[in-house]
């Protein structure tokens, strides 16, 4: 069974800078991590590798060259190998262009039985790349998966939805996006770290996956950021400083009473 895990390198802190001209992200490569939900996806692949025979796990990531670190880390955690999709021409891709690159790379790795990824990334938070990749590969997709079982040519999943969960069965090859509750990600092992040093991770550019400049990057992206701005939020605020007179509290109670919120 061939499993591909899509991983994205994201900033470890919440402070990502935006390029004010293009509205796209500037990545510095400092304290970057594997997107936490992608670690869950990787762990699920590794769990299957431990419990089934003949499973290979390949991680695929699109990003700057510094994303090699994320791939090496995934190998140190137990993945067999990886592919880095990198090149200037990929920069500025929106989710459609990104999915185009990822699906082209997966096609090159075919036959693939299962593709796993996190439900969303902590930076962009769009949560749509996984499903787009499935659509482009024309294979079934299941999202928000908290439990996965592999059967004979099929998988059975539990999807976390509003007010409960659903059980759904799909034929493989399929793509599955996972939520946090599916497992507890493991850690790199010493043996894994040594192996990660040795494993050659190819770097593929646009030509390697058969894409032309018009299909990728900003050019291949149907969406455009028109502007970025700090939101104007303001309401007229009545402000009190809390002191020992109890005034702030009594004014608040009056205020809520006047608005008929408390009676």
């Amino acid at each position: 069974m061939n499993i591909v895990v899509l991983i994205k390198q994201v900033p470890g802190t919440d402070n990502v800078k935006m390029d004010p001209k293009t509205g796209t992200m500037i990545r510095t490569g400092k304290d970057n991590i594997i997107n936490p939900l992608d670690e869950n996806a990787l762990e699920e692949a590794l769990r299957l590798k431990r419990s089934l025979k003949n499973v290979t796990v390949t991680v695929v990531s699109m990003g700057p060259e510094s994303a090699m670190k994320a791939i090496k880390e995934a190998i140190a955690m137990g993945a067999d190998g990886g592919i880095l999709l990198s090149g200037r021409a990929f920069a500025g891709s929106d989710t459609i262009a990104t999915a185009r690159v990822l699906s082209s790379a997966i096609r090159k790795l075919w036959p693939v039985d299962l593709i796993l990824c996190g439900e969303r990334a902590t930076d962009g938070e769009t949560g749509q790349t996984g499903a787009m990749v499935a659509a482009m590969l024309d294979i079934p997709v299941q999202t928000y998966v908290q439990k996965l079982e592999v059967g004979d040519g099929i998988i059975t999943v539990e999807r976390l939805v509003e007010g409960g969960f659903e059980r759904v069965q799909v034929k493989i090859p399929a793509l599955v996006t996972v939520v946090k509750g599916i497992n507890q990600p493991g850690f790199p092992t010493l043996a894994g770290k040594l192996r990660a040093k040795e494993v050659q991770v190819p770097v593929w550019g646009p030509e390697d996956v058969g894409l032309v400049p018009d299909e990728i990057g900003l050019k291949g992206s149907p969406t455009r950021v028109v502007k970025i701005f700090s939101p104007k939020l303001s309401r007229d605020t009545i402000m009190y400083r809390h002191d020992n007179t109890g005034r702030a509290i009594s004014e608040l109670i009056n205020f809520l009473g006047a608005r008929e919120i408390i009676v």
Binding site: P11, D14, N15, V16, M18, M25, I96, R120, E125, T126, Q128, T129, G130, M132, V133, A134, A135, M136, P140, V141, T143, R159, L160, E162, F165, E166, R167, V168, Q169, V170, A174, K180, P222, T223, R224, V225, V226, I228, F229, S230, P231, L233, S234, T237, I238, M239, Y240, R241, H242, D243, G246, A248, I249, L252, I253, F255, L256, R259, I261, I262
Partner: protein, 335 residues
Amino acid sequence: MDVKEYRGVMVLGEQRNGTIHRVTFELLNRGRSLADKLGVELSCAILGDRVDDLGEVILRGADKVYHVCSQDLATFLPGPYTRALVQLIQEEKPEIIIAAATTTGRTVMPLVAARLGTGLTADCTYLDIDPEERILLQTRPAIGGNIMATIKTPFTRPQMATVRPRSTRPAPRDESRTGEITVKNYGDMLVSLTERFLEFMADPSQEVNIQDADIIVSGGKGLKNREGFKLVEELARVLGAGVGATRDAVELGWISYSHQIGLSGKTVSPKLYIAVGISGKVQHLAGMQTSETIVAINKDPDAQIFQVADFGIVGDAFEVVPELIDALKKLRTGA
């Protein structure tokens, strides 16, 4: 793609067990104002088997309802839903399509966007029309810090966006409205050979319904620890309110994820939202700024949460909240 061929605004309504879901009316509210700005029709797509009360969708603002009717659409499966929606879009050619950011909307919209090769913007907090270009402006919180991004889809159609449930009020009912209901039958193409729905299991513990609460008391990192967070829970109890939290409070393990409010949590718009020890980062505000009344308690007078608040108290939560609880209790007993 000739963008001029596409006309009209479409919203993707939702049904659960054949009953129109409330989020449909919220979408109609957003859709109506966009359609009016463009001077075009508003349509609503409903995918399902038997669906009751499609007339209600007209009274809430739709000019046209397309009910794609099939037993293969009774429960959500990505394949059939995607094929139905792609077919409907190709027939009706709406310039804009808006769905709810539910597990269904967030799954089917990217599939449709990829099939059609058009753009999609997730979790928009604000939608507007650029009057000159007649184009949809999609605004959502951007990455990190307090930044919003406005995004457009200039060259392809439809322009697609999702909006969070509860981020708008449902469209009001207007008994005088009229419209047209069309049933679409797409037959065998909706049958899925690769997917099978097995069952739905309700899990009440997973869905803490803070979205239905009239009052929400919400706590952030300013409460210092799990023990401190209990202060928020106690204030909520006294007010008969739901409990909310910031992502930081959830990640510190003070309360479960189902209470998280904001961009990656729930969107709420209660009558009263009390924010305690919350700084008011844009990702949090994205989930609560449409609340009717907002009260903030924070020791930092410059905290951004005060900008969205109607009433602010600058002070230490550990002093202010107990006093407030006392005052409310006294009020209750008439003392």
